[in-house]
Amino acid sequence: MKILVCISNVPDTTSKINFTDGDTKFDTNGVQFVINPNDEFGLTRAMWFKEKQGAAVHVATVGGPSSESTIRKALAIGADEAIRVNAEPTDGYFVAQQLAEVVKNGGYDLVIAGRESIDYNGGMVPGILATLLGMNFVNTCIELEVEGNNATATREIDGGKEKLSTTLPLVIGGQKGLVDESDLRIPNMRGIMMARKKVLNVVEPVDAIKATSDVKFDKPAPKGAVKLVDASNVEELINLLHNEAKVI
C-alpha cells in the first residue's frame, strides 16, 4: 500500500494570534510552527500501517521553504519521502488542487489528511481532494482499518460515531482517535539524523483557481471581567443566568 499523509504547517496550539500589514496578514513573529495536530494523528496511523502491514509512507505539504522544518519532522517520525509544493497555501481549494496533482503523480492508494488545519479551520482540503480525484472519502475519521482493497472507517458524528465500509483508493479527513494519544511520537536523534538523508522533492505548483481570498482579519472584542459568585450562594448564579444573561 502506498500512503500519502498531507501535512499542514500550523502555529503551535498555544500561539497568540496577531495580524500585521493593516490586519491583512497573519503575524508569524515569534510563532512556532508545528505539524497540524489532526495530521499528526494521521501520520502516526500511517506509521502503524507501515510497521504492521507494510506500506510506503510519503508526506506532502503545500508551503514555502519555511515549511520544510515541519515536513522534516514528519520524516524524522518515520515517513519515507516528502514532497513540498512550492506555493503559499492561500486557500483550501488551492491546496487541494495542488495535492490532487501530487496524488495523481504518485499513485497513492490511501491519502490521509487532517479534518481541518487548526489555523484557518477551513475543513475542506480532504473533501475537495477526494472529489477532484474521484476517490472515496470519509471525514472526521477516528478509526481506520485496511485489508486488501477494503477499508473500514469510523467517523465521528454529532452525538456519537458511525462505522462505514468503503474501498481504496480512499481519502480520509482524520483527527484524534485514529491512534491513542500515547502513541504519538516525538522524533528522536536517530530519526532526525536519518531524516536528513531522506528525499525531499520540491515541485512547482500547477495552475489552479483561487476560489477564496482572505481580505482582512480581526480579533474578538476583549471580554469584561468575570462576575464571581460565592460558593455558598448558588441561587445568585441562577438569578444572574436567568435575569441578566437570560440563558435559563
Binding site: P11, Y93, Y120, N121, F137, N139, K161, V226, L228, V229
Partner: protein
Amino acid sequence: MSVLVYTESDNGKFKKNAFEVASYASEVAKQLGSSVTAISFNSTENESLGKYGVSKVLNVSNEQLNTFNAKAFANAITEAASKESASVIVVSSSSDTKYLAPIIAAKLSAGYVSNVVAAPESTSPFTVKRSAFSNKGFAHTQINTDTKVIGVSNNSFGAVENNTTASVEDFNPSLNDADFSTKSIEIDKVVGQATIADADIVVSGGRGLKGPENWGMIEELADVLGAATACSKPVSDMGWRPHSEHVGQTGKPVASNLYIAIGISGAIQHLAGVSASKTKVVINTDAEAPFFKAADYGIVGDAFEVVPKLIEKLKEFKAQNT
C-alpha cells in the same frame, strides 16, 4: 438565480439548525434580490420552512437516503443547485454538512467558506466573516467563484422569522451505485438527548472531577437544564467519556448560549473550542484557573459541593418557572 439551502432533518423532523440556515439563506436572497429554495430529504414538515423565508422546497423522498450518505447527498444537492441555477448554497456546520460541503464545492468549482458567523458583508465582491484560528480571530473572506458555498456556524445567525409560503415539489435526483461506494454499517449515537452541536446549553466536566464515577452529577445537572454533556481532552483521552464529547481545538467546537465548565482549567486549546459560546460559567477550586479570565460568571469552589447544591436549587427554580 436563487439561493439554495440544505435543510437537515432527522427521522422526518427538521433539526434546529435547518431553520437557522433557512433564515440565513433568506437574508442572502434579500441582499441579492432573489428567492430561497430548500432541499430536504425525507422530511414530513416541509411547509414549516416558509416561516423562515423559503419559497420553494425540493423534497427528496428516497428510502436509500434515510441514512446520511455524503456523496449521494452532495450529488442530489448539486443537481438541485443546477436545476435552480443557484448562485449561493447555504449549509449548516453539523458533522454531516462539514462532510458533504467540500464535495459540493469541488463538483461545482465553487469557493466554500465554513464557520461563517454573520450575514454577507457585501455581495459584490461576495464577502463573509468567518471564525478562524480556533476562534482566536476572524477572517473576512471574499469568494471569487460564480457559485458559492457557505457553511453557517451554529447559533451565529439564529432562526429569524420571515413569513413566506413554501410550495413543495418532489425532486428525484439521479443517483447510481457509485454514489453509495461508502456504506454505513453501524451508527452508535445517543438518542433522546441534546448533542453538543445542537444544544442551547452544554455542561462540561474536566479532570477536576477525578473519575468517570463522578459524572452522575454532571449528567443530572445537564438533565435539569436540558443540556448536552461535554468534557475536556484528558477526560476523553483517559476514556472517562466518549471522544464525541471532547470539546476544544482538537475536539468539537461549542457555540451554545450557555457553557458551564466544571473542574476545567481553561487551557488555551480548550478555550479555543468554546469561546463562541455566548455565556460561560466556571466552577473551579483554583481561583487562578485561566478559565476565570474567559468566563462571564464564576464560582471558586469545590465541584463536589457546588454542583449538587446547584442541581437542587435549579430544580426548585424550574418548578417555579415552568
